[in-house]
């Protein structure tokens, strides 16, 4: 079963077992990780599911598309090189992903 570790801006970590194929955003929201807002429900319209991905996990992810890239310029906390929108990250079998959530999403 894939696992996601969410570390918030204060340093507290929540670990959640995910379903293969679900997005990191869905995994967070359904389980009440409040640092992911996801107003638009994953349709790549709101940029409120911003996460910073651990450097060592970056190579395991699918590359981002142009729309995600542009949306990342509108996040509440400025993007960094390891920024992604978590609605675009699908969990794969056995994946162990570490992300940090920004202080605010809106």
């Amino acid at each position: 079963m894939p696992t996601v570790h969410f570390t918030d801006a204060a340093g507290a970590t929540t670990t959640i077992n995910a379903n293969t194929g679900d997005s990191v955003m869905e995994t967070a929201v359904r389980n009440g990780v409040t640092a992911i807002v996801a107003e638009c429900g994953g349709s790549l319209s709101c940029a409120t599911c911003h996460v910073f991905v651990a450097e060592s996990d970056l190579p395991t992810l699918e590359p981002m598309g142009e729309m995600e890239d542009e949306m990342l310029y509108g996040t509440a906390v400025d993007r960094e090189d390891n920024s992604r929108l978590s609605c675009q990250l699908r969990m794969t079998e056995g994946q162990d992903l570490h992300v940090t959530t920004p202080e605010t999403q809106v």
């Binding site: 679900d22 869905e26 929201v29 359904r30 389980n31 009440g32 409040t34 107003e39 638009c40 429900g41 994953g42 349709s43 790549l44 319209s45 709101c46 940029a47 729309m67 542009e70 949306m71 310029y73 509108g74 809106v106």
Partner: protein, 432 residues
């Protein structure tokens, strides 16, 4: 117990019989769910009951006309929260129950009576009952195959009919109609869109955006008829839709007639409670109805226009996910005895085929526009100005423009219209 049928329960256990829930939220909608979640985030400790009339766990609606209809996401993806979440947060879900009447007291407490025969005593009441589709008035509108698209059951019905369907008529060229039309076209159906008015999405966007969508949808194969009048929906002889006849005498074959001509706010419970009703249930800036105790949130609420700089006393009823969320937050503060302003700028989105429309702000009352186009990348933006200041934007496949306008509005700033006319200039650099 006098319960006739037992409503399905999920989440945390309900209070024992005869004990009131702290807050009864009628409407397991986006706004109802957000109200419960926001209250818990603010430290509200009373038991919460979230009651809905559908037989589904609380779910998100936007995908119903898009990814869900196209089978790109399953029903599990639409669910707001796991059952464990509701249990851990002491929130009882009640599905498949409709509140038919309410006995209320002046202190805000009361007893709600369900269609099942069950009663729900509460200390405080919130109505997040939303809106229902406006029904088409035309001969044949009751035929099998005439469908609406508001709820999961509507979408499931549409998915059930789709495989045996080659031709669809969509009545209404608004967001729902165009989203569903695009979805059905991508599923291989021949789709005709009938718009009664002079242009597409007339209620939500300006003329330039309407014209853009008309041109682009026609390029992608949708047959769109503007100013179309339906005379009759045709019967195949067995009570099922066979097509549509228009006032100009032309006929269109269809096995499905999908109607998306707007919604009517569900004000009945509000009226029964004696609340002021006028295009929705009237609320104050704290989401409180005219009795001073009932909370009303979301599509059903007629509220003071929350946009900074809006004319004093202007009222508005917004039908959007963003409003459901932000209005619910205001209501949650209100229930906690705090007065907090509505946060942020109203925004909307609509995905149609490969076109991603994002709207920031409300364009009502604009006096000039600036167009930014990049046809090679399929980008198209309309900026709306009033008295030289920006008030809104429609952005298609142009999230940077959308974000920049949203940020400018939230900061009470504008964007120079002359400089903004050059599509190569980043709007973000013009916020001042």
């Amino acid at each position: 117990m006098e319960t006739l049928t037992v409503p399905s329960l999920a989440g945390a256990d309900a209070p024992e019989s005869g004990t009131a829930t702290g807050l009864l939220i009628v409407g397991a909608s986006q706004s109802g769910v957000q109200l419960a979640i926001s209250l818990r985030a603010l430290g509200y400790t009373e038991h919460i009951t979230l009651l809905g009339d559908e037989d589904h766990r609380p779910y998100q609606r936007p995908a119903l006309s898009k990814e869900f209809l196209q089978d790109k996401v399953g029903s599990e993806s639409l669910i707001f929260r796991t059952n464990d979440y509701w249990i851990e947060h002491n929130i009882t879900l009640i599905k498949g129950e409709r509140i038919e009447s309410v006995d209320s007291n002046t202190d805000g407490s009361g007893i709600a009576h369900g269609a099942s025969g069950s009663t729900y005593p509460y200390a405080r009441l919130a109505l997040t009952v939303g809106a229902r589709p406006r029904h088409l008035e035309a001969p044949g509108a009751e035929l099998d195959g005439v469908v609406y698209l508001r709820n999961a059951d509507d979408a499931l019905r549409l998915k059930e009919l789709a495989p045996a369907t080659t031709d669809v008529v969509v009545v209404g060229g608004g967001f729902i109609g165009l989203e569903a039309a695009s979805s059905l076209a991508s599923m291989g159906k021949r789709v005709t869109v009938l718009e009664y008015g002079p242009r597409l999405v007339g209620r939500a966007v300006g003329e330039e955006t309407s014209e853009y969508f008309l041109t682009e949808h026609r390029k992608r194969g949708l047959d769109i008829r503007i100013g179309a009048r339906i005379e009759q929906i045709l019967d195949d002889g067995h009570g099922t839709v066979d097509g549509v006849r228009l006032a100009d005498g032309s006929g269109i074959t269809a096995q499905i007639v999908l109607v998306g001509i707007g919604v009517i706010p569900n004000t009945e419970l509000g009226e029964a409670l004696g609340l002021e009703v006028n295009n929705g249930i009237v609320v104050d800036a704290g989401a409180l109805a005219s009795d001073g105790t009932t909370i009303v949130v979301g599509d059903v609420a007629n509220m003071p226009n929350p946009v900074p700089g809006a004319p004093k006393g202007e009222r508005i009823r917004l039908e959007s996910v963003n409003n459901a969320i932000e209005h619910a937050k205001v209501a949650a503060y209100s229930l906690m005895g705090r007065s907090e302003e509505y946060a942020g700028i109203p925004w909307f989105w609509s995905n149609q085929a490969d076109m991603k429309l994002q709207i920031a702000g409300l364009s009502t009352g604009f006096d000039s526009t600036v167009i930014r186009k990049d046809p090679d990348k399929g980008k198209f933006t309309v900026l709306y100005y009033r008295n030289g200041r920006i008030i809104a934007a429609d952005a298609v496949n142009a999230p940077l423009d959308f974000m920049a306008v949203k940020q400018a509005l939230a900061a009470g700033k504008s964007i120079d219209p002359v400089a903004a006319a050059d599509p190569a200039t980043m709007l973000k650099t013009l916020i001042a």
